[in-house]
């Protein structure tokens, strides 16, 4: 069994009447990168701050490295945090920003500076040590923030929407950098984002949150292929949600019938647009076709409702108005309700 780095036990956080986190149980293993994903206001930042100790839980416990830290202030924990705004100290040089933590924790200044210089070199900032943060580009500032967060070998490093201040073009690169740093240093990391694509790309596991609760936890593939609810299916990637009925191992909706085992009764299936094939000639109608470079997205009118289908450009395009038949492998359908 892998070692547990962080554990939430029935954690609740209230602000007066408002409930920001409404009961979370979660374990994060050492060396893992877990993302908190969810729409704005669902409690991601609050959960992250609960780990940092910048908020204390109203109920429940937070454990870091096996120790209950629920009542410990941030300064008594060993976490690194990269803030959305980076929060570099504007009055200190880059080197002193990074050396700050070790000095606070009792390292002599020369030794702390040496350690900081080493880390800065590793994140690719050699030669900029004496600059002030205001003299760096956004991407460089972020690297300083990361260096500052990892210099103390924290039990966990926390990222709050680290890409929100990065140019759209650079996001993929920065994301890769963060991921490779995390792997290289063997860091346990918690990463907050509202962008599902970003979450799928960087995470070992994703915690999807909804209104202060965990909606689903799983690997990116788990969440994409086996969403547990219509909310998740819709939030992660695109999904066709089809309402119907299950009886004797078959799901039926108007014009659609698939083998789906499971409890009988009302049901809802999620079908990914790229998992639906189109064969010419059939009951359904292509109402729209959008050319997207690498693929074409079709809007299909069916008795079960309008569906979105995405086909690679390598297939022969079908014109609008064509009658088609939908090809669906029951394995690709996941029951979400």
């Amino acid at each position: 069994m892998t070692e547990t780095a962080i554990e939430f036990r029935g954690v609740v956080k209230r602000y007066g009447e408002a409930v920001a986190v409404a009961g979370i149980d979660l374990t994060i293993a050492k060396g893992e990168l877990v993302t908190f994903l969810g729409p704005s206001g669902c409690g991601k930042t609050t959960s992250l701050r609960l780990i940092a100790g910048l908020e204390l839980p109203s109920e429940g416990q937070v454990l870091i490295a096996g120790r209950d830290v629920s009542r410990d202030p941030a300064s008594a924990r060993n976490v690194g945090m990269v803030f959305q705004s980076y929060a570099l100290f504007p009055h200190m040089s880059v080197l002193d920003n990074v050396a700050y933590g070790p000095v606070i924790r009792g390292t002599k200044r020369p030794a702390a500076r040496a350690r900081a210089a080493e880390i800065l070199d590793q994140v690719g900032l050699s030669g900029l040590h004496q600059r002030l943060p205001s003299e760096l580009s956004g991407g460089q500032q972020q690297r300083v923030a990361v260096a500052r967060a990892i210099v103390q070998q924290p039990d966990v490093i926390l990222f709050d929407e680290p890409l929100s201040n990065v140019d759209a073009k650079l996001r993929r690169k920065v994301r890769e950098e963060i991921r490779s740093l995390q792997r290289r240093f063997g860091l346990t990391a918690v990463y907050v984002t509202h962008d599902q694509e970003e979450a799928l790309a960087v995470s070992d596991r994703i915690v999807v949150m909804q209104q202060g609760r965990i909606a689903q936890i799983g690997t990116p593939a788990d969440l994409y292929e086996r969403p547990a609810s219509p909310f998740i299916a819709d939030f992660i990637g695109d999904a066709n949600l089809i309402a119907g009925h299950v009886a004797q191992g078959r799901f039926t909706a108007p014009g659609l019938s698939l083998d789906v085992p499971g409890p009988e009764g009302q049901a809802m299936l999620s079908l990914r647009p790229e998992r639906i094939g189109l064969d010419p000639g059939g009951p359904d109608l292509i109402a729209s076709a959008t050319y997207l470079g690498s693929r074409i997205e079709y809007g299909i009118q069916t008795p079960a409702g309008d569906l979105l289908v995405s086909r690679p450009i390598t297939e022969t395009p079908l014109p609008v108005g064509t009658r088609v038949h939908l090809r669906i492998d029951p394995k690709d359908a996941s029951r979400v309700a």
């Binding site: 941030a74 060993n78 803030f83 980076y86 606070i104 003299e135 500032q141």
Partner: protein
């Protein structure tokens, strides 16, 4: 990393408590410790000794005394008992009838709190703060918890408690009985509320007079402060440096001296009046005595304060905001109106508020220049020190004054609103400040020029007045006789002997100012930090408390301190400390406002970053907060120091023969008509202040956050 060391903390507080009850003299004026006093009969002190022992035992034995139920019981009981016994048994016996049968020794009474009692109180309050932090108060941050509990305790003791005593006093009739009737009669007297002057049919009541003066004075001072700030921060106006210097002058001027100079210039036999009479045949009148004179003096006195407040807001505006607006094609007028102005609004409100409250609290100018224009502060003064001593009347007037200032504060708060003005973030903020539109610039110059001329005139009098024979009669023979009267000394073989009549008050003033300025600034900035950065239960109440301390006029403080601190358990009138305490709680609000304004523009995640790296609250303050708000600190420190040197409204009630203050001494000279001596002393006082401010400026330095400064490039500003 291990968590907080609860045991060590507990032993520190209980150790301090034990030191206080076992060794230190418990009462004021020496004598035995609580333990020895208890053994000699004052048995009601025994529980405090027991609580000290109990707490020490508990922190040593329990896993975490802070969450142990007994911890809360011990600390709570200790605090309650300390206060109860103090108030239950007064100097001449129990305050509660029948207590002497229960505790025979209480018949002899007990003196006020001494070192032992004070330290015990501090230890219990510290323990309480840590106990709460251990239970999650302030996210477990000890420093924040200690600050909050400490400030709450101090505010309760030095702001709320005196006010409560004051309220009680307002209900006491002349014969000593307590009822509603005397208060109602005092409150509704027509001499307070008459509005005849508005219709031109006579005089207004003292309340109406005060309000008219306050509004006019605050409006003019804020406008002038804004004009000054804009010229200094945002234009290449050539007289910039002169303005900066000139604007410092009035703040460091004792209030009486401006009044005296105005009389010397515009009084019935004043220099200007006489000139005008000779040149143009304008008949000399006493027009200056009353609203015009007070207004003139107040605007001169308050404009520099509003200037500093507005300037620090102006300098803290992130230039990228204005840059962005200009880049988007906005004309300077639009940028100013849509970006700069809204960002300045909170500072303007703060400035106006400050000036309004200062005006209502001002005592020095109305008493010198008021003539028959009565205002609340002077009326209160005469009710306390005048022939018909009537503390009840003074208390009632004080409560009205208090209601006005608190009301003003409330209105201002509503107007400023709760908009967020975060413009300094951890991200880089390089940029150029925008220049103001020409129209605004010329309006500002038009406002500032008369101010410059006027100030120059006043200070010419002040500079010369102390060193010539008799300035009031245009006798300009140079002499140092006045200075020598105040500050004569002799160097003998036994060292320097001070003979001058002013030495005593000068030395006291320096001590009080040097002690109170850093304390005032510290508490003010700390409070600002707590209000902007901490979420804790009871925060609204805490804000209200600091609000109250801000809105209490000095005159009211003076009266309430007399009502509260003349008797045990806290009898501190006549000491140096009551002067220091008075200044700290009277002026902390200015540091607080400056701090709040500065902190509101700084992204709090920088502090959180520091915390996650292991810094406790104190380190965060020193390493991150203070360096980023240096202008606010400087403002707070200078203001605190200077007010302590120049304030008069509260101290006039609190000075004693032993601890006299410079302003009280000067007021005496003015009352005696010794204008030259008053001016000479004031000049010396101002020189001393300037030297001290220069030292502070050197110590703190000015902020530079990697901001390009095109305006100052090449010019040494």
């Amino acid at each position: 990393m291990s968590g907080v060391d609860a045991r060590r903390i507990g032993l520190v507080w209980s150790g301090l408590l034990l030191l206080a009850v076992l060794l230190l003299p418990w009462f004021k004026g020496g004598g035995g410790s609580a333990l020895t006093q208890a053994l000699e009969g004052r048995v009601w002190l025994m529980p405090l000794v027991a609580i000290g022992g109990g707490l020490a035992l508990l922190s040593a034995m329990a896993r975490d005394w802070r969450i142990h139920p007994a911890g809360a019981v011990l600390v709570g009981a200790g605090l309650v008992w300390l206060i109860l016994q103090g108030f239950a048994i007064g100097l001449r016996g129990p305050a509660i009838a029948g207590l002497e049968t229960l505790l025979p020794a209480s018949a002899a009474g007990q003196p006020g709190f001494g070192w032992g009692a004070w330290i015990a109180g501090i230890a219990l309050i510290g323990a309480l703060a840590d106990l709460l932090a251990g239970r999650g108060f302030c996210r477990g941050e000890r420093f924040a918890a200690l600050s909050i509990i400490g400030i709450v305790a101090a505010l309760s003791l030095f702001v709320f408690f005196p006010i409560l005593r004051l309220v009680a006093t307002a209900f006491v009739a002349a014969d000593g009985t307590v009822s509603l009737a005397p208060f109602a009669a005092r409150l509704t007297a027509p001499e307070l509320w008459a509005t005849r002057c508005l219709t031109g049919a006579g005089r207004c009541g003292v309340v109406i007079n005060s309000v008219i003066l306050g509004v006019l004075s605050a409006t003019l001072a804020t406008a002038l402060g804004l004009a000054l700030a804009l010229l200094v921060a945002r234009t290449d106006f050539r007289l910039k440096r002169l303005l900066r210097a000139l604007s410092i002058l009035p703040i460091i001027t004792p209030p009486f001296v401006v009044g005296v100079a105005i009389i010397v210039l515009f009084g019935r036999t004043g220099i200007v009046t006489v000139e005008l009479a000779e040149l143009m045949g304008i008949r000399p009148t006493r027009w200056i005595y009353g609203l015009p004179g007070i207004l003139m003096a107040q605007v001169l006195a308050f404009a520099p304060v509003t200037f500093l407040v507005i300037l620090s807001a102006l300098e803290a505006i992130n230039p990228t905001l204005e840059e962005a607006s200009t880049t988007l094609g906005a004309r300077p007028v639009t940028t100013f109106r849509r970006v700069t102005w809204p960002l300045l609004r909170p500072a303007l409100a703060a400035a106006f508020l400050l000036a309004f409250i200062e005006s209502l609290s001002d005592f020095g100018n109305p008493i010198v220049l008021g003539g028959s224009y009565d205002v609340l502060s002077t009326r209160i003064f005469f009710a306390v020190v005048g022939a018909q001593y009537d503390l009840g009347h003074a208390a009632t007037l004080s409560l009205i004054l208090l209601a006005l200032t608190v009301g003003a504060f409330w209105v201002q708060q509503r107007w400023v609103g709760r908009a967020s003005y975060v413009t300094v973030t951890g991200k880089s903020d390089a940029g150029l400040t925008a220049a103001v539109p020409p129209l605004v610039k010329w309006a500002a110059i038009a406002a500032v020029v008369p101010f410059v001329v006027f100030t120059t005139g006043i200070y010419a009098i002040v500079l010369v007045g102390g060193f010539v024979g008799d300035i009031a009669r245009m006798d300009l023979t140079p002499t140092i006789a006045h200075v020598w009267t105040a500050f004569s000394f002799e160097i003998t073989d036994r060292g320097v002997q001070l003979f001058g009549s002013a030495w005593n008050s000068m030395i006291t003033t320096l001590w009080v100012s040097a002690l109170s300025a850093p304390l005032t600034m510290g508490i003010g900035i700390l409070t600002a930090w707590l209000i902007t950065r901490q979420d804790f239960t009871g925060k609204r109440l805490f804000e209200f408390g600091t609000l109250l301390s801000f809105a209490v006029p000095g005159t009211v403080v003076g009266v309430s301190y007399i009502a509260a601190f003349n008797v045990p358990p806290i009898d501190i009138t006549g000491t140096l400390w009551i002067l220091v305490i008075c200044f700290v709680f009277r002026n902390m609000a200015v540091g607080m406002r400056a701090g709040v304004a500065a902190l509101a523009q700084i992204d709090r995640s920088m502090e959180e970053a520091s915390q996650t790296m292991g810094a406790g609250g104190g380190r965060v303050m020193v390493d991150v907060v203070l360096p980023l708000i240096k202008p606010a600190i400087f403002t707070a420190l200078v203001y605190a120091f200077v007010t302590a040197m120049t304030a008069v409204s509260a101290v006039i009630f609190l000075v004693s023969a032993r601890h006299n203050m410079a302003t009280a001494y000067i007021m005496g000279r003015v009352e005696n008509g010794e204008f030259a001596l008053a001016i000479a002393y004031s000049t010396v006082l101002m020189l001393v202040m300037m030297a001290c401010i220069a030292l502070m400026n050197l110590g703190i330095g000015r902020r530079k956050l990697g901001r390009r400064s095109a305006l100052s490039k090449g010019k040494a500003t």
